[in-house]
């Protein structure tokens, strides 16, 4: 397999797995959000790589430029980034409320608190 040629896709897969692993395994609710962010960023990198055309420049019309990168995936991912920001902000806001109500952001501690009642 052509390793350097697919370098970006390897990075995407590694980031994706790291992110997903943190989301599943970590017991700290804040770190889960960090994992979620890494997971989302891997998808951003994936889309941006997809839109890049070899030798292409930024898609702005200029003299003597023939090859442009595909702007559509980049625009799409701008939308996805906005969604990511909204999700992160909401998740953190929820965590602030959870900390207020339960006095902890650790899954185990909260579960212990819940089962005692």
């Amino acid at each position: 397999m052509d390793f350097p040629g697919l370098f970006n896709y390897w990075v995407v897969m590694v980031l994706m797995m790291i992110g997903l692993y943190i989301v599943i395994s970590d017991r700290n609710l804040v770190k889960k959000i960090v994992g979620l962010n890494i997971f989302q960023v891997s998808v951003f990198v994936f889309y941006i790589t997809m839109g890049k055309v070899d030798g292409g420049t930024a898609p702005i019309i200029g003299e003597g430029i023939e090859v442009y990168s595909n702007p559509l995936p980049h625009v799409l991912i701008l939308t996805a980034i906005v969604v990511g920001i909204a999700t992160t902000a909401l998740a953190l806001a929820l965590l602030v409320r959870i900390q207020d109500e339960f006095g902890s952001v650790d899954e185990d501690a909260i579960q212990k608190l819940e089962s005692r009642q």
Partner: protein, 492 residues
């Protein structure tokens, strides 16, 4: 000229009303605005229904950019039947839920609550209408983000945990979906569903397309409450404010099923669905949900949670019929999607009335309510009978079509499982009815009275729909049959 603009108006009305609600103060104004908006939206849906029935599929190019370059809104029979259930339940829930919202949502948060509710409606409607995969993702996130907040507004502090759990798993699901869309775009260079259907045909065998398929199915499966990734659903439904539970239970998973239908049958096509053995997997998961979720429901103490597990079981029916990938199967799937929305909307709204008057929704809280809240509990009982599948209700029509679909594929064992699962439904619905009518309310508890009139209207609108479409099923079955034809007719 207004009839040409109907598809966009359907999305635009709640989208415009949402920020207005956020600016307004107090309870009365946002409530009036929201109710007005959902009623108008319902009218728009009826308009769309009439247009689709007379002229067939409607295509609307946003911004005047013709598809596949621009974003296209497509309305066909399948979209209309899902729109009907969304808008109908939204109207019934908002008209009926006023008192419940007053009780469960603080006054300062009320305008934002209505804004979020309308945004959620916008998202769900947009997902149904759009013909563009990425636009669909945007609407998916609009509805998801507003849902997370709505769930977090629940009175119990555990609502926060439920919302958090839903947020994490929901975001992972949505991101899986985006990965799938990205892979599809890599192979085909288009995002328009109709265009994709043509272009996927050429590259069907490639691993990239298969991977895209897998990612999208799992992503949508999370949103839909498919059995192994369903665990967010009972918590979210049980802890959200009662009105929100009623709306979510009746609509959000249905829209996810709708997307699954579109993605699987329109874009990838039946041959691929069968070749990847996804058909068997989904039938298996559906049957698993029917049995496991029904049994779990029997042992729940909180009635809201019980109904949430019952929802999972009902999704099992829908998935099973969908997995058959035959015409009777898809018809039954679409039909049950519609009918289940009606049943669960009515049940959860009646439960919102119980929560309003009795304070809580544990089993014991239902004791003696048959005398104290006769109209509410009669509605609850009728909707419960519909859930079981008693003749004269929509539940019976659903079961009939489901059995027909099973026999069509010689699935006698499956048919037996469906009937067995209906018996389980009796086991979890009947004790509730028995408590309401044959037990006395604990005299130590404060007495309860009948739910307020608007709430009764909301409940009985939905119960009435249960009975009406049970006696006169032509509209729903007709739409479902033509949807199945459209979906499978496009298959290669």
């Amino acid at each position: 000229m207004i009839s040409a603009q109907l598809p966009i108006l359907q999305v635009l009305l709640p989208l415009l009303a949402a920020p207005l609600c956020a600016i307004l103060r107090g309870r009365a104004l946002p409530h009036a605005l929201s109710v007005g908006t959902v009623l108008l939206s319902l009218l728009v849906t009826v308009g769309l229904l009439i247009r689709v029935e007379s002229t067939g599929t409607i295509s609307y190019a946003i911004g005047g950019w013709p598809p596949p370059i621009g974003i296209e809104y497509r309305v066909d029979q399948l979209s209309v039947i899902v729109l009907l259930i969304i808008q109908g339940v939204a109207a019934a829930v908002l008209v009926g839920g006023g008192a419940s919202i007053v009780r469960e949502i603080e006054a300062t948060r009320a305008p934002l609550f209505y804004a979020l509710f309308l945004l959620n409606l916008t998202g769900l409607t947009g997902m149904v209408l759009t013909g563009d995969l990425f636009n669909l993702f945007v609407f998916l996130e609009i509805s998801s983000l507003s849902t997370y907040v709505l769930v977090a507004l629940g009175t119990d502090r555990r609502a926060l945990l439920a919302a958090y759990q839903y947020l994490v798993i929901g975001t992972v699901g949505a991101t899986f979906y985006v990965i799938g869309v990205g892979l599809l775009y890599m192979m085909t260079g288009t995002l328009n569903m109709a265009d994709l259907a043509d272009r996927v045909a050429g590259v069907e065998e490639s691993t990239t397309i298969r991977t895209a398929f897998a990612f999208m199915i799992i992503g949508i499966g999370v949103k839909l409450g498919m059995m192994p990734v369903h665990f967010w659903l009972p918590n979210a439904y049980a802890r959200a404010p009662s009105v929100v539970s009623a709306f979510l239970a009746a609509t959000s998973t249905k829209v996810a099923v709708y997307i699954m239908l579109r993605v699987v049958f329109e874009i990838f096509g039946v041959p691929m669905f069968l070749a990847t053995h996804l058909s068997e997997i989904i039938i298996g998961l559906g049957i698993l949900a029917m049995v496991v979720a029904s049994v779990t429901a029997i042992f729940q103490d909180d009635v809201k949670r019980l109904l949430a597990y019952s929802s999972l079981a009902q999704i099992g029916y829908i998935l099973f019929a969908f997995g058959l990938a035959t015409e009777p199967g898809v018809t039954a799937s679409v039909l049950h999607l519609f009918n289940h929305g009606l049943m669960k909307g009515a049940l959860f709204l009646a439960l919102a009335a119980v929560a309003l008057r009795a304070g809580r929704t544990r089993r014991t809280d239902l004791d003696g309510l048959g005398q104290a809240m006769p109209l509410t509990m009669l509605g609850f009982t009728l909707a419960g009978l519909s859930l079981i599948g008693v003749p004269g209700t929509v539940g019976f029509i659903s079961k009939w079509y489901l059995l027909e679909a099973a026999f069509d594929r010689d699935g006698f064992i499956i048919a037996a499982i469906i009937l067995g699962s209906s018996l389980l439904a009796i086991l979890y619905v009947w004790p509730l009815v028995e408590r309401a009518y044959f037990r006395k309310r604990d005299p130590a508890l404060p007495p309860v009275e009948e739910a307020p009139l608007p709430m009764l209207i909301g409940i009985w609108l939905l119960v009435g729909a249960n009975l009406l479409f049970g006696v006169w099923p032509d509209l729903a079955t007709g739409l479902a049959e033509r949807s199945a034809l459209l979906l499978l007719g496009g298959a290669r």
